[in-house]
């Protein structure tokens, strides 16, 4: 099937009908958080592995450069966790040295029992140097009911803007579905990429139905997907959705799903950050093109 400009425009139209904003060529894609309608840039920044550099001043400077480029490109969600070693402190240090630039959507997690949750959240806030997080999530569903009690109470008191629950690697989807049914948070975070598509069956439709924003983690399978595809030519029709690199191809597939709010690729390189951010520009693939993209990668 040939991808036509009409199909792409129809896709863009469908995306606009979904909780999606702005698809103009000169403006990066943002999407609306279902709970409030607040727009958030579609390409965020993860910190798993890449920002865990300890106290190394050289590597911290590299992380800071990545964050500076992120804010220059419009900013968005930066996501971390107490589980990610020194990542929180590295982010906080960079934010301070960058002068706390505008455009940050701060997202972190609680990764302990509910009894220890408030102390861990306070320590996380200290490391980031923020008074109030935009989003706090229950990491990997740990003690999720009681931890959500804590987050809901913080939100009610105005000390938190959004609540969330996370999973990764396609694990515990049944339990996450239960959370989304019984006690929908503002956000869920799950693994979704061009080859890990189990979430399409139940969780992503449910997120749209229940008005839950979705954060897609592991968009590149921790670098494995671009590595696997490197050296292979892009399909000729990729240029019709303004894709010139495999990472753009992979990210556009994720971002164009109407239920996905933001993807959080992690990187320690400024050129990769810019390449990731560029995926939010230009036309987004419609359902037919998305199918073709997935089939193409599957058949390689």
């Amino acid at each position: 099937m040939r991808v036509t400009r009409r199909a792409m425009l129809a896709g863009a139209g469908a995306a606009l009908a979904a909780p999606t904003l702005g698809n103009a060529a000169a403006k990066p894609l943002s999407k609306r958080i279902s709970a409030t309608g607040e727009p958030v840039p579609a390409v965020g920044l993860g910190s798993w592995i890449t920002f865990n550099v300890g106290n190394d001043p050289k590597l911290r400077a590299e992380c800071r450069a990545v964050m500076a480029a992120f804010f220059e490109a419009g900013g968005g969600m930066i996501d971390s966790s107490p589980m990610y070693g020194s990542s929180q402190a590295v982010i906080g240090d960079a934010l301070t040295k960058l002068g706390r630039p505008p455009g940050l959507f701060s997202a972190d997690k609680v990764w302990t029992s509910a009894a220890n949750g408030p102390a861990q959240i306070a320590e996380t806030a200290r490391r980031w140097g923020v008074g109030r997080f935009d989003l706090l999530q229950v990491h990997n569903l740990w003690d999720w009911e009681r931890n959500l009690d804590t987050l809901d109470a913080m939100k009610a008191a105005g000390r938190l803007r959004y609540t969330g629950v996370t999973t990764s690697h396609g694990r515990r989807h049944g339990e996450l579905e239960t959370v989304m049914q019984r006690r929908p948070p503002d956000f869920v975070q799950l693994t979704y990429n061009i080859v890990d598509r189990e979430a399409e069956r139940r969780l992503l439709p449910l997120a749209r139905e229940r008005g839950i924003a979705v954060i897609a983690n592991r968009p590149f399978q921790r670098g494995r997907l671009p590595d696997r595809l490197a050296g292979r030519p892009l399909p000729v029709w990729a240029s019709e959705i303004d894709v010139s690199t495999w990472p753009q191809f992979l990210l556009k597939f994720i971002l164009s799903h109407p239920a996905v709010t933001t993807a959080i690729p992690a990187t320690s390189r400024v050129d990769h950050l810019r390449e990731n951010k560029s995926a939010a520009f230009g036309p987004m693939p419609d359902a037919a093109i998305r199918r073709r993209m997935a089939e193409h990668v599957r058949d390689l």
Partner: protein, 227 residues
């Protein structure tokens, strides 16, 4: 693939962040590396010439020095440096403290003697030479800078290998196995970590672990009781 874990999914840090730990620690203690290498050179040369430290001061001094190396490496490198990128590392450091305390206590008690001879002892000297002089070469062999060299008593792997080597030089005693437990466990963890990082150095650590185990447990000619 979703729903499945790969070993690297349990790795909290990048290889680059890991290797840089050695550069930071080396910079912090420079030029102690030169003194350690010089002392190691003298020790190996003496052992090759047949010297076996078992005197009133030399054996215990070696035991105390080895204990101090474990305490220092556990605290400075494992707990502080490695702990900054791996939240499990400070727990692992307790093993280093236990090993260091045990070695120091045995040294203080005057039981430390490195009098083994024969094949087992020669294997120990070879392993000691590898820990002291080959391990610092792994970084440049890997295309990384000398600043990331792993040096005995500063980096944990050569410290653990050297300990197994000295145990092979010590007469077998009831302390041999307890003293080998922490070095063996550390080397196993280190090899696994390096394999998960995709680093070929994992094979070097694994080979040293096997060689150390064989050297420690093999029968040998002994001239005195010791560690």
């Amino acid at each position: 693939m979703a729903g499945s874990w790969a070993p690297e999914d349990f790795l909290l840090f990048s290889p680059r962040a890991y290797w840089r730990l050695f550069a930071l620690e080396n910079a912090a203690v420079w030029p102690a590396q030169l003194l350690l290498l010089a002392a190691g050179l003298v020790l190996v040369a003496c052992l090759l010439r047949g010297w076996r430290p078992s005197g009133r001061w030399t054996g215990p001094a070696l035991g105390l020095a080895l204990g101090a190396a474990w305490l220092w490496t556990g605290w400075q490198f494992v707990a502080l440096r490695y702990g900054a990128i791996n939240w499990a590392a400070p727990m692992l450091a307790w093993g280093f403290y236990a090993e260091g305390a045990l070695l120091a206590a045995l040294g203080m008690s005057g039981r430390a003697a490195f009098t083994g001879r024969g094949t087992r002892a020669r294997a120990g000297i070879g392993l000691l030479a590898a820990a002291l002089f080959a391990w610092p070469l792994l970084a440049p062999l890997d295309g990384r800078p000398w600043q990331e060299a792993e040096v005995f008593a500063i980096a944990p792997d050569p410290t653990a290998i050297a300990t197994l080597a000295l145990l092979a030089l010590a007469p077998r005693s009831r302390w041999t196995v307890p003293l080998a437990v922490v070095p063996v466990l550390w080397l196993a963890i280190s090899a696994l970590t390096l394999f998960t990082m995709g680093a070929w150095q994992g094979w070097a650590v694994f080979a040293a672990l096997i060689a150390g185990l064989i050297a420690c447990t093999a029968p040998g000619r002994e001239t005195a009781s010791g560690l």
